[in-house]
Amino acid sequence: MAQVAYRKASRIFPGSPPVRAVDQLDLDIADGEFLVLVGPSGSGKSTALRMLAGLEDVDEGNIEIAGQDVTNVPPKGRDIAMVFQSYALYPHMTVAQNMGFALKLRGVSKDQIQSKVQEAAKLLDLSELLDRRPKALSGGQRQRVAMGRAIVREPSVFLMDEPLSNLDAKLRVETRANIASLQRRLRTTTVYVTHDQVEAMTMGDRVAVLESGLLKQVGTPAELYERPRNAFVAGFIGSPAMNLKTVPLTADGAKLDGLTVPLPREVLDVAAEQGLSSVIVGIRPESLRVASEGENGMELVVELVEELGADAFVYGTVRIAGDSQRFTVRVEGRSSPKLAETVKVTVRDSDDLHAFSPETGERLG
């Protein structure tokens, strides 16, 4: 067990111009923590993980594991175990051999390897499969073997690189829960990479959002959801995504079609300080509702209704300053509007609004 730290760590792919795949990453991961690195493809999340594994150069800065600078230490000296997206099981070894390979390389005795492998196999429900080759396993079983291979090592850090992306939807949800509870039980520091923000939100103690090699925000899932530090995180976290619109700023708030939404005082102050005449306003679908009779609202032309049973998501367009802008609104399942209908939509609670600077994308207030 150990804490992990990135200290202004960069990975620069050579080329012209060179690409900073990971740019001055500063991140502290506590002992026993489950940290999720999330971001769109090309954000550098996998590269960051591979730097920690020692599979990728660290061109600037340092990486520490358990207080030791491991920047120049090869993977085998880092006491880490990794679960790959492809699982990377050794095709020519049985499940038991796959799981015991790292121990064998370290000269652990045969009996000890066997007992550790069996223990891990029991934990992962693999006991019946120990003599099989990876080829003869289903996708879910392979995934569990990959987990088993990591667990058997009892490493100080688990690294997982999109370990669920090759599973079907149902199995993914199931395995997600299993991995999370396993980690809570073992209390091994875990760094987990995914592009799926639902995975990130449900599994991580904390989530780090990356984009273009830059760390956009790190915090608990609730923090990211409730107080995204910038427009990128706001749009990335949450499904369906937050409505983010650049709108003119008035003395009281943001002007949306027939609706002026009041913004908190401190937001308006900061905006005034920065001399902004417009603002990116962020409204989650659940912060919008259908307006009641006679209330002010935006005229939303319904284009698609996604019925989910208890509730429904209404997708439509609103004309703002001559442009038609897309909005997503969550409504009660039973009272959802029809296609091509026009409904008036208003904000549920102005405290749930987010505002970002159109220039920097940073949160205002």
Binding site: G15, F84, S86, Y90, L105
Partner: protein, 308 residues
């Protein structure tokens, strides 16, 4: 490689690996073939197989004939069959056949082991590492094959003399290795390319050095590729005449089979029956090696020849 490519490839290499042999065509196709088409297909393949094996089959037939019966103007399939040809060749009536056989086996075996091993390490480096000189090395392997190697006999002779390897088995083996290396490396590089890099990385995380990864993971996984390469290297050395006659010592004991038999041909122009028997004996080890690797040939060569 540009930087953007590097980034794109970081992502694309995450895609699930393609392991194992290429997918086989489904059986549905055969069922829809008309009976006539099936007959035609078999007829064509039988015909082709016949052409492929007939010359060798005819040598086999001849090897059981007494020499004079092998010279009839209307040859018969079976004509006073006898195994005398074999027993006389093996008994050493035409030179120390078994000694030559042993020499050939030793030389071909060493060529195979050394050639495949150093080709494999090179191919692995070329497949996995981006080191300066990588591309030019592969290109020079291509250029190497363009030069008529027999013409180099004199400079090579001088060279081996300088190193004290003239007349030695090792000198000849090194020359054979050189002729086999370019294609072997190319083939194995292609095969290694099909093994996902994730496997290497998993091995590194599990505690292997890069050499360890090569030795304990990649070599066992590349068996079909290794098999084809070994076959190719073995054939390069087995039955070669030109270099063997130039670089091995002149005494009779040191010759390889092919060289020994070559002299036997010139002495005994008419002993076709004996020659046939000797030929069969020479072909046998190569055919055995072929049979051992034949299952791997297609997949091994496929990965080498087919990019992506």
């Amino acid at each position: 490689m540009t930087a953007t490519e590097a980034v794109v490839q970081t992502e694309s290499r995450r895609s699930p690996p393609r392991r194992g042999g290429p997918p086989q065509r489904s059986d549905g196709r055969a069922l829809r073939r008309s009976p006539l088409a099936s007959v035609g297909l078999h007829a064509a393949l039988i015909m082709a197989s016949f052409i492929a094996i007939f010359p060798i089959f005819w040598v086999l037939v001849t090897s059981f004939k007494p020499d004079e019966n092998a010279l009839e103007t209307t040859p018969k399939l079976i004509n006073e069959p006898t195994v005398n040809n074999y027993s006389e060749v093996l008994a050493g009536d035409f030179g120390p056949f078994l000694t030559w056989f042993g020499n050939s086996l030793l030389i071909a075996g060493l060529t195979t082991v050394i050639g495949v091993f150093i080709s494999a390490t090179t191919a692995y480096a070329v497949s996995r590492f981006r080191f300066p000189g990588r591309r030019s090395m592969m290109l020079s392997f291509l250029v190497m094959q363009m030069f008529p190697f027999v013409v180099l006999i004199v400079p090579l002779y001088n060279l081996l003399l300088t190193f004290g390897l003239q007349g030695s088995v090792i000198g000849l083996v090194l020359v054979y290795c050189t002729t086999a290396i370019p294609f072997c490396t190319y083939l194995l590089k292609g095969y290694f390319d099909t093994i996902p890099i994730d496997i290497d990385e998993a091995g590194r995380v599990d505690g292997l050095s890069p050499f360890g990864v090569f030795w304990r993971l990649i070599l066992p996984l590349a068996r079909p590729g290794i098999a084809v390469t070994a076959f190719y290297a073995f054939l390069t050395a087995w039955g070669e005449v030109g270099f063997a006659s130039a670089f091995l010592s002149g005494n009779s004991e040191g010759k390889t089979l092919a060289v020994g038999l070559q002299s036997f041909v010139s002495q005994t122009q008419v002993l076709w029956g004996h020659l046939a028997a000797a030929s069969i004996l020479i072909a046998l080890p190569a055919v055995v090696v072929f049979y051992l690797v034949q299952r791997s040939l297609v997949s091994g060569l496929a990965a080498g020849g087919v990019k992506g």
